[in-house]
């Protein structure tokens, strides 16, 4: 006899932000069919409306701290915060896209449905408490991005970008599935809390199950590492980021990363924090591996970014470097007792990075020409004279990415380095600080180009009404987190701590 749950058991109310968005996507998909081709702005408005409803709803059920869908979905403050990041990114991306799609001639209603699908995927990823749900969310998050990357299909670069992302993404999914299968084989369950419950017994008996568990965790890390682009799984990033339409790149660099790290943090914090070499150890067995990967990611990302001449490629390598910083937080989670602080630091860092990076891409889009050119670093020459306000904001975003005080990036790095030190990862923290100094070179070079180099100054015709809204929103976010960090920390604290730990 099958144990049939009733519909009330599913506890659907707490899943509404994500479920509503998924259902709303289908509404957008169908309604868009009846919107004439020259009025696609209505689809954008509809999309924005749905995103705002989901955003408000998310605030309302923030600290509900319940499980739903038979224990496969956790609505706690962690998932609430990931929803917050995902929806913020989607709303800003929506503003970024409206005029850009029109002037580059790739305006299609499907863009918005795909954006919403991908956002819903990130939200499910943050709330997943079962490896199956993580996998499905990973696919919901990635598949729309493959299509969106290839959306400028008359451009060979965009096509290459979509194909490359698709093939490597499919590989990553396969790695993840294989890892999940091994973990299932070792523990007999796919539910993260139940995996946690069986880990201690597996460590104690030191059976073959432990080998499978470690191997499975490693493969899952490879799969998610592809998604968040950490070294050595970063090869696709520069090509994909350069070829994809710029709003898609902007969304990819923040939302897909947030989703991947959400799943990684959940897995490490909930399921495997006590996967140690021996009983009584206080450091998880995977910490060294992740620390080494984080160090390699920070070093390679920052050093290779120096030689880039294309801003989109530079921001791609910078996003690899930032993945390294966030991964530092994941490594710190491996020291038992620091998990809470490290998770909080990684989440704040992701929020700060979301605002800053979307802002930087918004300015890049303002300079980008209709044919996709105009994204070289040299194109920034003299921008302070032609568009002073834009130049000020770009300078601020660059300083925030470097991590200069009074910007959001500083707060994120401060918390992350603090957590890593507390976890005893001194060498990793030193590498992090030193590579931050290196990163100043290429971020400040853009400021130098804007303020000190002679040049005509780009008229920045792409800075249209909607794009400006997005830039201001990103600027405001970066500034507020930078000046009043306790706002973000309190927001996270009030919703988070009770739920996750």
């Amino acid at each position: 006899m099958i144990d049939v749950p009733s519909i009330a058991d599913l506890n659907l109310t707490v899943t509404f932000p994500a479920v509503f968005l998924a259902l709303f996507t289908m509404v957008v998909l169908i309604v868009d069919l009846f919107i004439p081709k020259d009025r696609k702005i209505r689809t954008a408005h509809l999309t924005l409306g749905g995103l705002v409803v989901a955003f408000v709803w998310n605030v309302l059920v923030f600290d509900s701290n319940q499980t739903a869908l038979g224990g496969m979905y956790i609505a706690d403050s962690f998932s609430g915060f990931i929803n917050f990041i995902a929806l913020t990114a989607a709303i800003i991306t929506c503003f970024l896209s409206v005029d850009y799609l029109k002037r580059t001639g790739i305006e299609q209603g499907e863009f918005y449905s795909l954006l919403l699908f991908s956002t819903a995927g990130v939200m499910f990823m943050g709330a997943a408490s079962d490896l199956i749900v993580v996998f499905i969310a990973l696919e919901i998050l990635s598949i729309p991005l493959y299509v969106m990357a290839a959306m400028r299909y008359r451009d060979a670069k965009s096509e290459e970008s979509g194909l490359k992302y698709f093939i490597l993404g499919a590989f990553a999914s396969a790695f993840f599935l294989y890892g999940a299968a091994l973990v299932y084989g070792a523990t007999g369950t796919t539910s993260l809390p139940e995996i946690f419950a069986s880990v201690e017994g597996i460590v104690a008996t030191d059976s073959g199950a432990r080998l499978y568990l470690v191997l499975g965790a490693a493969l899952i890390f490879v799969g998610l590492g592809f998604k968040v682009a950490v070294v050595p799984f970063h090869m696709w990033t520069p090509d994909v980021y350069e070829g994809a339409p710029t709003p898609v790149t902007a969304f990819m660099s923040v939302a897909a990363k947030a989703g991947g790290f959400a799943a990684l943090l959940r897995l490490m914090v909930i399921a495997l924090p006590e996967l140690t070499a021996n009983i009584g150890d206080t450091i998880a067995i995977w910490q060294t591996t992740i620390a080494i990967v984080a160090a390699a990611t920070m070093i390679l990302g920052n050093f290779v970014a120096i030689v880039q001449t294309n801003v989109k490629r530079m921001l791609a390598y910078s996003s690899i470097a930032h993945a390294g910083y966030i991964l530092m937080g994941v490594a710190a989670v491996g020291t038992i007792g620091v998990a809470e602080e490290a998770t909080r630091a990684a989440l704040i860092y992701m929020l700060a990075y979301t605002f800053t990076n979307l802002g930087a891409f918004a300015v890049v889009m303002a300079l980008e020409k209709d044919d996709g050119s105009g994204t070289q670093i040299a194109d920034f020459k003299g921008l302070s004279r032609s568009r002073p306000l834009l130049a000020v904001m770009m300078a601020f975003f660059m300083l925030s990415l470097t991590g200069v005080p009074t910007t959001a990036g500083f707060i994120g790095k401060f918390l992350l380095f603090g957590a890593a030190l507390e976890a005893g990862l001194v060498l990793l923290t030193i590498i992090g600080v030193l590579t931050s100094v290196v990163s100043a070179y290429y971020y400040v070079r853009i400021i130098v180009n804007m303020y000190l180099e002679d040049g005509e100054g780009d008229p920045a015709e792409g800075a249209t009404q909607y794009l400006n809204y997005a830039t201001y929103a990103a600027f405001a976010g970066t500034l507020i987190i930078g000046l009043f960090p306790f706002l973000a920390v309190n927001l996270l604290d009030t919703m988070m701590i009770a739920g996750l730990f």
Binding site: I2, V4, I7, M26, L29
Partner: protein, 119 residues
């Protein structure tokens, strides 16, 4: 579990192999043989078996093929559900109804987009 429980399956496998061997060879042994070049060519569902491997063909076939496979796979999901339909009761009906609803939205979308038109 005792291995004897699997005896019927083993018998079935052996029977299948032996029977296949007999059936596929019996006509060659006893039947009249009158080979022509056309008869000995590999069976390719009516297509020319010899020619360039990378022939051009209308991209419409690809679209129809993808759409067919999509719905084909969705149909597979109905099968296990149908087996336990009675046990699941209203819950199963509601969940499958939702699944079917989402599937229908996909159909409406592709129909309205003109993916089902041949021209």
């Amino acid at each position: 579990m005792a291995l004897q429980q699997f005896a019927p399956i083993a018998a079935l496998i052996i029977l299948a192999v032996v029977l296949t061997f007999i059936i596929s060879n019996i006509s060659t042994i006893f039947g009249p043989s009158n080979n022509t070049s056309r008869k000995t060519a590999p069976y390719e569902s009516g297509m020319q078996p010899i020619g360039v491997g990378m022939r051009r063909m209308p991209v419409k076939f690809y679209l129809i093929g993808v759409l067919f496979i999509l719905f084909d796979i969705e149909v597979i999901f109905f099968l296990p559900w149908a087996v336990v339909f009675r046990d699941l009761g209203f819950y199963g009906l509601a969940v499958m109804g939702l699944f079917f609803f989402i599937l229908t939205i996909g159909l409406i979308y592709e129909w309205k987009k003109g993916a089902l038109e041949w021209e």
